[in-house]
Amino acid sequence: MEVDEQAGLYVYSDTELDRAEGAAIESLKAHCQQAIPDPDKWLEEELRRNILLTSVDFMLNWARRSSLWPAICFPACCAFELIAANASRFDLSRFGMEILRASPRQADLMITAGTLTWKMAPQVKRIYDQMAEPKWVIAMGACGISGGIFASSYNVVPGYSRIIPVDVYVPGCPPRPEALIYGIRMLHHKISQRHTIEG
């Protein structure tokens, strides 16, 4: 590490950056050995709410589920089924989902298409953290759910749920686009159960 006197900034060499990255991976690996449970408690909640709040909720949920903009997070194989789902035949744009936001700040939905490795895990976590609330995650494919065929490998995270909370799991290796669309419909259903305003 050098100190740039003029600018008052620290200048790191590539090696130091690599070490820092390695340390971040190790610490994440040490902290993420348990799966994160689904955070939403809507299933147990009692529906004792008045009409006004319900209709406001309905409106907000309608808007949210009608314009789910996916973030770009395409690590591996499933990405191609995701792209195929976006392309002409399956056409996710029908649901208003064709705006793939490259910037996570503007995205609502993370479709984790592919195997997650420990080296990649900090970046995915960071992308998730950078996404603005409310946000949802669809774990696509066997690797995203449990590590799939690679679960026993030394560098593979057994499922995205270790590092980020997952809302919908779409099984398959890779899932067909129809399955993904079904998963998205399930997410729509989940979003419409959401209560934004506590009554």
Binding site: A63, R64, R94, G96, E98, S103, Q106, A132
Partner: protein, 374 residues
């Protein structure tokens, strides 16, 4: 938010139609509301047109689940974006980051203060006698907002995108203004209403080269493809608004389309005869023409790839600028020869001149295959 209309109130009172309810302030209030509402509606319509039109061109269907034909899609998007969390990056320059979207969006809206969308005084908020100058001046302000966004975000991609934007706008402003001067020469006025009234023959026919230059420069000015280097998806993530979320992002998103709307409105006013047209009511003609211009922009966006930053600069300085100067010269000579009004004979002549010049220049000028030193 809206530019104050002409200060000459006495004069203004007189120009109001006699049956206008109330006076100056009523006029101001009603038209401001009308303009903001219609601009926002049109912008949503634009987003819908672009997403559906683009989808059709890409052999897809496009949004069709929300409302009839997906018409409510922009509404859903707007509500969702507005209630989304607003993130300010930790090391951002907070004030600049907060102000940037406002500064980028406001000018796009302010341009509509002088654009006549209807015949008569009620058809515009202000009849500035220097209307087009006002448009050019205000139009450049949004660049400041974009650069503030790039600077304030403390993100390298944002900064790169913003710097590209500034470079592009500074370069393309010159051919843009030169193309406008041709129109002003023929119309003999800087007032947009006078320019519309002067178009017995739409200026696109009398000024075909000017129209071409204005269209290209205008597209570059508002970052439409193929000049969308500032938010180039495949290079700079999302360009200057990479770090923006929620409502601020919505403002940028709106500003992008509002600027497109403004440019189409200006093109309509300057070259397509504004609100003039047979049978249909004038405001409908205006909206129709604006939408047609925008559809062309959507078309280019889906078909053309992006140019490189140095090619972008080269196009402005080596292609558009000389042609704009030549166009100005020719127009000036024509106006000198027929000071009253240009005869319709000049239509084929001007079109021929345009074809010859463009062909000639594309001989001289290549975008350059390979490395271009600027």
């Amino acid at each position: 938010m809206i530019a104050s209309p002409s200060l000459n109130l006495e004069h203004y009172w007189q120009t109001l139609p006699p049956d206008w309810p109330g006076g100056f302030w009523w006029h101001w209030l009603v038209l401001t509301v009308i303009i903001i509402a219609s601009v926002l509606t049109l912008v949503m319509g634009y987003i819908w047109i672009e997403r559906r039109g683009m989808a059709r061109m890409q052999a897809r269907l496009g949004p069709n689940r929300v409302g009839p034909f997906g018409l409510l899609q922009p509404v859903a998007d707007a509500i969702k974006v507005l209630i989304k969390e607003d993130i300010v990056p930790a090391n951002a320059d907070k004030i600049v980051h907060w102000l940037a979207p406002v500064i980028a969006f406001a000018p796009a809206l302010m341009i509509f203060a002088v654009i006549p969308f209807q015949s008569g005084t009620a058809g515009r908020l202000a009849d500035l006698n220097i209307g087009i100058l006002y448009v050019v001046a205000i139009g450049s302000v949004s660049t400041v907002g974009v650069f503030m966004a790039g600077w304030g975000s403390n993100n390298k991609y944002s900064l790169l995108g913003a710097m590209r934007n500034v470079a592009a706008v500074v370069s393309y402003e010159i051919p843009l203004v030169l193309a406008i001067i041709g129109v002003v020469l023929i119309a003999g006025s800087l007032s947009l209403n006078q320019i519309v009234l002067a178009q017995d023959i739409p200026f696109i026919l009398l000024q075909p080269l000017g129209f071409l230059l204005f269209f290209i420069a205008g597209c570059a000015e508002i970052n439409r493809s193929p000049f969308d280097l500032m938010e180039a998806d495949s290079e700079l993530v999302a360009g200057f608004h990479t770090e923006y979320s929620g409502m601020k992002f919505a403002l940028f998103y709106l500003a992008e389309y509002a600027e497109a709307l403004a440019i189409s409105a200006i093109i309509t006013t300057l070259f397509l005869g504004g609100w003039r047209g047979p049978l249909l009511p004038p405001w409908l003609w205006f909206v129709l023409k604006v939408i047609i211009v925008f559809s062309v922009m959507v078309w280019t966006r889906t078909t053309l790839p992006r140019v490189r930053i140095d090619q972008l600069m080269a196009l402005a300085w080596k292609f558009l600028l000389p042609l704009a100067l030549i166009n100005l010269l020719i127009t000036a000579l024509e106006v000198l020869a027929w000071p009253e009004a240009l005869p319709w004979v000049m239509i084929p002549v001007n079109i021929a001149i345009m074809v010859v010049l463009v062909l000639l220049w594309s001989r001289f000028f290549k975008l350059g295959w390979g490395r271009v030193e600027v």
